[in-house]
């Protein structure tokens, strides 16, 4: 330790043990601590705490918002897909219905055509039958005519009666 006394101001031993200075140190320490406490608790700490909280809040807010938005996006996606599927199903139904209606029309048209054709066939059968029936009558007439001409062509005169009789004979045979 320093030894020689250097006057009142120099440290004879440990200045820490100079009790005369204690009130001064204690007083200024208390003032300092109060000032520090006020500065910290009124200004600095709330401000820093606010910044830290705001930062954490910003991050958690963003992440929470992102999650919520993601949820909404998924919902929107399902709704979108559902709407599309509904539209396709509706389209399918329309096609099926339209096809059924067309088929009905077609079937009706086919039926109509069938009856028409059938009617025509019947009519034609009748006409053929009529032709055949009238033919039976006209065969004799035509045959008589033709036979008379053939006979005349051979120059042999022949009365109509005998020709007619011959034709009638032949038609029977």
């Amino acid at each position: 330790m320093a030894t020689e006394a250097q006057g009142a101001e120099s440290a004879a031993g440990m200045p820490q043990l100079d009790f005369a200075t204690f009130p001064n140190q204690v007083f200024w320490l208390v003032v300092t601590l109060v000032a520090l406490y006020l500065i910290l608790s009124r200004v600095a700490l709330p401000r820093i705490a606010a910044v830290l909280a705001e930062r954490r809040g910003s991050i958690t807010n963003d992440i929470a918002a992102a999650e919520e938005l993601g949820l909404r996006a998924r919902e929107a996606e399902t709704a979108y897909q559902k709407a599309l599927a509904d539209a396709r199903a509706e389209a399918g139904r329309i096609v099926v219905k339209a096809r059924a209606e067309i088929q009905k029309d077609l079937d009706a048209a086919v039926a109509r055509a069938d009856t028409e054709i059938a009617a025509k066939a019947v009519e034609s059968q009748e006409r053929i039958a009529a032709i055949r029936a009238s033919a039976a009558a006209s065969v004799g007439e035509v045959a008589r005519e033709v036979a008379r001409e053939i006979v005349q062509a051979f120059g042999t005169g022949a009365d109509g009666r005998s020709v007619a009789a011959a034709v009638t004979q032949r038609m029977k045979g």
Partner: protein
Amino acid sequence: MRAVLALLPAIAPGAAEAASGPFFSLSNTNFVVLVAFLLFVAVLVHFKVPGMLGGLLDRRAAQIRADLEGARALRDEAQALVATYARRSREVKDQADRIVARAREDARTAAEEAKEELRRSIARRLADAEDQIRAAEEAALREVRDRAIVVAVAAAGDVIARQMTPAAGAALIDRSITEIGQRLG
């Protein structure tokens, strides 16, 4: 720091006086301590300690910025996704309408085509049926005519045969008649 240091002899007169003699002297302990202190600071600067500390603080700021921006980006991304689906679901009505309209249109064209096709096929069938009927009628007429001729020829033959008694002429006549029959048929 440096400014405070420069002020020291001025603001701490008591301390400066505690060591006696001129300030810039090795006998002055305050001067010696000051030299050592400056040396210490120089060593710190030489080993880039202040730069390291500054870099540490800058990295912390960068990390915080990255965290904030990462979270913000996540949120923006989700927002954009929502916007996309909102737009799409607004469009989905149109899209659905278009799909249904196209389906209707397709069905209508298909119906028209089918009807056209059917009309053609019915026309064809009718035409076929009419052809058949006409053919049948013609066949019937021809049959009648053929029979009439056969009958006429035979009857004429009978009549002529009865009139031409001389047998000599008979063969000739027969042949002639056959000839005429052929010409007429």
